[in-house]
Symmetry: C2
Subunit: 299 residues, 2 copies
């Protein structure tokens, strides 16, 4: 990633390593008859991924002086939910995907039943982690995290977005409907991740609003970039099948706006996302870099 | 159910009605593009079921003077998780079941992708309900409920038990392994349900232990009765396919103990479960009746 500034690159690499370790600890290898379930959960979460959502949690937490050990637990919980959604999304009845993060998808590496249960287990474990006193001493904070994650991941958030995504294969969505779909499918979890640090650090409403506005634009920029990668990226670079939206005849930001206008739009959203963080001064530099990164990434 | 005492029968009927209404309110019909998701979630939860777990929540809550409106939210959350587990368990890759509560299973009434997402949505919604201040004013209590439900439903509880259930089709389990499987697969959620009232009512440790011991025996009695129904019940009575365990060559309490010893064991466990509640005096009469009911039920 030559276009990335050194600092962001190294900070993201640090998070990748920390999250990997945290997941190892939270999902240990077990010597139990049902070990296969834990192996599938680990396979789904370990060894790959940009860890964008955990990075947003860690960085927003750092801005408010949150204990990094606490933030890391929230970051792992977010990644559990993200990975569960990928496992279920990849199932034969859903996207029927073979490749994820450059490896076989969970239902191919294990089997379909195990993949369903591994996803269920990861989602449930995320709430167990957040509700544990080790994540924050104040139960009010833990409850807020649980409630916010459940909203972002539930039928009015990510799961609803996945349902819309299925419907979009059979029905023509206009730009407004696609924006809503993407806000629910990926935006709400990105917003939760960016806001988790503010919850953990008991930030005031102005700060929470600024982060929400940032996450809103970041999420859209991220999704447009994702649509562009589906059209322009190669499977080797992206680590998953590409060209799927076009093949499915599914409307995306790119199919509606065209490649050039989509690129402009993504860049404009990234700039706008960064601008929302001006109230934080230098502390927000890394989150601003992330906004630039998501539209320039090649995977 | 002629063998049921009037009081239990009417109390359970009341809960069925209350839970039905609570679910209607918590899962409204929506006028959204993704309405199908909400319809599938409602289909999975409404119109059927003994509501045993919600009844355990309501009764244990009543013993500690908990506001019934709060208890009903926890009861609905438990039922969401129970119904999600049935939806995923019935999927073609899992049990491949056609019939549930006398109706087509969710993936047949809708489709497989919708069934997966409806299950995911129900599980997530359960945690949203529990973490909401309307469930209890004290965030510590809400956090305890979330943590306890996540443990009971997660990879070390129900999901782990479902994994064991898959493994049991290929591997011979002895009575110890089957007991562990059943404790995880159904016992832990029954224990959560019985204990939820104690959490909501901030009961002391002796009371919590008594309820745990009750739930432990109740859960096993329930499962043995279930195995007996699979052998002796008719599809029309039970409302789901029967004879599946025998057909799959799966070891169960009944295949190991035989019908008569299994019946004795179930009755003994039910008596023992009831005896654990003696410390509560008359207040526990209904929960004691439930223990007798689960071994006498025909569905």
């Amino acid at each position: 990633m030559p276009s990335l500034p050194k600092t962001l690159q190294s900070a993201m690499a640090d998070t990748v390593e920390q999250v990997e370790t945290a997941i190892e600890v939270l999902l240990p290898t077990v010597d139990l008859v049902e070990a296969r379930l834990f192996e599938a959960m680990r396979y789904a979460c370990l060894g790959g991924g940009k860890r964008l959502r955990p990075f947003l949690v860690m960085e927003s937490a750092r801005m408010f002086g949150v204990n990094p050990a606490c933030a890391l637990r929230a970051a792992a919980a977010v990644e559990f939910v993200h990975c569960y959604s990928l496992v279920h999304d990849d199932l034969p009845a859903m996207d029927n995907a073979d490749l994820r993060r450059g490896r076989k998808t969970v239902h191919l590496e294990f089997d379909e039943a195990t993949a369903i249960l591994a996803g269920d287990g990861l989602l449930t474990a995320a709430f167990e982690i957040l509700s544990d006193p080790e994540t924050h001493e104040d139960p009010q904070v833990r409850c807020k995290l649980v409630a916010a994650l459940a909203r972002a991941a539930g039928p009015r958030g990510m799961v609803g977005g996945q349902m819309l995504d299925l419907i979009a294969e059979k029905q023509t969505f206009d730009i407004g409907a696609i924006t809503r779909l993407q806000r629910m499918k990926t935006g709400d979890m990105i917003a939760f991740s960016s806001g988790a640090g503010a919850i953990l650090g008991k930030a005031g409403p102005a700060q929470q609003h600024a982060l929400q506005a940032y996450a809103h634009d970041l999420g859209l920029a991220f999704q447009i970039a994702d649509d562009l990668l589906d059209v322009e990226g190669s499977e080797a670079e992206v680590g998953k099948s590409v060209g799927r939206d076009v093949a499915a005849g599914k409307a995306t930001f790119v199919s509606i706006l065209g490649v050039e206008r989509a690129k402009d739009q993504a860049r404009r959203l990234a700039d706008q996302a960064a601008a929302h963080l001006d109230i934080f001064g230098d502390r927000a530099e890394m989150l601003k870099e992330v906004a630039r990164y998501v539209v320039e990434r090649r995977s």
